[in-house]
Amino acid sequence: MKLARVLRYLPLLWASLRRRRVRTTFTIGSIFIAFLMYALAGAMNHAFDQGVQQAGVDRLMVQQKVSFILPLPASYLNRVKGVDGVERVSSANWIGGYLKDAREQIPTFPIHAEEYLDMYPEMLLPRGERQNFLDDRTGFLVGRAVADAYGWKVGDVVPLKSSIYRRKDGSNVWNLTIRGIFDMRDEGDSRQLLFHYEYFNETLADAQKDRLGWIMVQVEDPAQSDAIGQRIDALFANSPAETKTQTERAMAQGFMKQIGSIGTILGAVVSAVFFTMLLVSANTMAQSVRERTSEIGVLKTLGFGNTTILSLVLAESVLITAIGGLLGMGAAWLLGVQLGTALKQYLPGFAVDPVTLVKGLVWVIALGLAAGAWPAVQAMRLKIVDALRRG
């Protein structure tokens, strides 16, 4: 049927939906919930994926082969720098940074500052602030999300604590001056604090000195990443601290796999909800067609062909799922805007993205067709004489 022809049947379809208003409302309500959950799960996945998408393919991460949490000797930095194909290196340590409550940690990393900033062009930092940070050994950089959350501004002095490291004097507090506030490109995750490794290392007790959490490597040719990674690992083979080198994206994906089960659970829940919704919608359509047996007979008597009847039942089914689905995804989009702002600090990238909405539209049509298929075929096969007799 052409679109114009479909449109002329809209009053008939709409009137059919209004025949049993309570039943239609409940059916649309169940579809609404299903697509609300679908779109919110999509927003959650979008947030998870964003970190992986932002991870560079031209950057390698070198960590201890045994475990990510074991440190590397600081001497490894220069040795990695000397490997063929390596352009620059930096490092970072996880120090378990916090302000007052150790349970509320802020991702805080001592870094080899100049190299690090060169390696991460996605960090957007005013040139003046960058220079001020590089010039001040006790300065630090604050991500916009953290600065906004704590109301910090450039020049503030912050007493940062570590739950892992201790200074020579036994204290775990580093008083650092904010020299810059950075954003991340494409509204990426800016929940980070960065300060100078050299300063950090000098202040540490001897037992904790000269350790690196992991080494970041920028390669000259991303196509050679695997080979360079193998060369780095070969360099430290059979040493007390063997290394495992992989691309930053592979590492991010590996990390996401650890929480990937959440995505799997979400997917399973959404699938179950969709399946239930399919049964509810199919039942509604089957009942609706059964109740209208004689009316279908009348329509056929008036000259409505079998194909037209089939199309009308399918269109009615798709109309129901479209109303519920579009309302559900619309509500999810609005919620995503609200929650995305509220959760920006904890779950950056939480938003119902267009891909999820487009896929949702495909699901709306597919589920509508699936729910209406059997009743539509039954209506199509209905013999006029039998239908009129049942009426």
């Binding site: 008939l12 025949r19 329509l299 008597t301 000259g303 062909g305 006029i384 009129l388």
Partner: protein, 227 residues
Amino acid sequence: MKALIHLRDLVKEYHRGEESLRVLDGLSLDIAEGEFVALMGPSGSGKSTLLNLLGGLDRATSGELTIGGLAIGELPDAVLARWRADHVGFIFQMYNLLPVLSAERNVELPLLLTDLSAAERRRRARAALTLVGLEHRLSHRPNELSGGQQQRVGIARAIVTDPTLLLCDEPTGDLDRKSGDEILDLLQELNREHGKTILMVTHDPRAAERATRQLHLDKGELQAEVR
């Protein structure tokens, strides 16, 4: 006058398991264009079956059935549906209006199958409702109308496509005498002034007297004819 409907040796059998029931048994009949024919007979005599065959709602087991020179029993389902839409108007005993639609929308239904614009469909639906005297009930739903008014809507729906043939299955069977008379007046008007060929199944001799010709059917065979 030229025969619009031509039946020869028409047989209709129903099968239930091994059992076979012959409802029409070699019926032969001609109905001329412009006739108003009343078809009478006891229950189970085959009246409604004949009406179904003439309307292309069912197919004969054997025999010849042509309407306007077209052997409708040989048409594929889709073509037959199109033919019904173009050439036949049906009027039912229980009106068979769609309860969720207004009188105007009900009458417009057959026009949805045409290429007419929405405005033209609406104009024709209103004209048909005006012809049956219901121009003031356009937006009323069937449950807001009396039985006689619902049957008028049914007639308006039957004539809105200007069909050649009107098939009426006990159109006054569910109405009181006054409403029934009004409907019969209307059918007579459609026959005399608009030239519609009408075949009306009825149990009511008074209704049959309005027709120009009365046929009596019993056990699937034509028994008597009154002109």
